[in-house]
Subunit: 135 residues, 2 copies
């Protein structure tokens, strides 16, 4: 898509620190990382988000995550990583082109997990029934 | 694995609000949701985390995410969702069995994004070279 930043990155029309590329995916370092080594795995094909990508592109993106994430963790001396997709502006998505974040993590690195609530089994069953009806 | 909570959930040896099940995956509502509707997509096969799963299980988990997430979003009146895997205790992983979180999101729902740093192109290129060497 002409106006899409990540389409331009996939075509190397914009410079980036590219880590890996194959037929369907490209990986590069985020220019505003949550942590050093924060990498973005994108599909070359344009789709607005992960849920809208073809199965083939979705699978290729995840294959690339499996390939790249261990190297990101090892190179940064991390102990693990988060693999995250933000779908929709309300979820923090900024670029509307399928991508996954790989964020290397260390103990006590200051990235607080989101707070959890509790839900009764009645609340869960009622909501579960609503969701199941939509499948 | 006998001692694994999610293996027991996959076998329905522990009650849960199951949303969906197919040959390789099960989806149920988190009992301590970040937001109501917070769903977990697990592989039936045991692996300690997403990076350790077989490609077939990884693809199946993502196919199920694509199927379930829109229903979770719609049922909760959300505007989007986060799709997240925590790999390793330092990344917030608690149950060491492959699973992805689907967290429905609303505007101003109080879940703050993690802060971003900035990285110079020199810093990125130096780290990028280290990562590429490990691939």
């Amino acid at each position: 898509m002409d106006s899409c930043l990540f389409c331009k990155l996939a075509l190397h029309e914009i410079p980036s620190t590219t880590l890996f590329e194959d037929e369907r995916t490209v990986v590069f370092l985020d220019i505003n990382p949550v942590r050093p080594g924060h990498a973005l795995v994108i599909s070359k094909a344009h789709a607005p988000d992960l849920l809208a990508s073809s199965r083939e592109d979705l699978h290729a993106v995840m294959d690339t995550v499996q390939k790249i994430a261990p190297a990101v963790v090892q190179a940064t001396g991390a102990l693990g990583c988060n693999v995250t997709a933000n779908v929709g502006a309300a979820a923090g998505q900024v670029i509307f082109h399928t991508h996954l974040h790989i964020i290397p993590r260390h103990e006590e690195d200051g990235l607080a997990p989101w707070p959890h609530e509790s839900a009764t089994s009645e609340q869960r069953e009622a909501l579960g029934e609503q969701i199941r009806r939509l499948l």
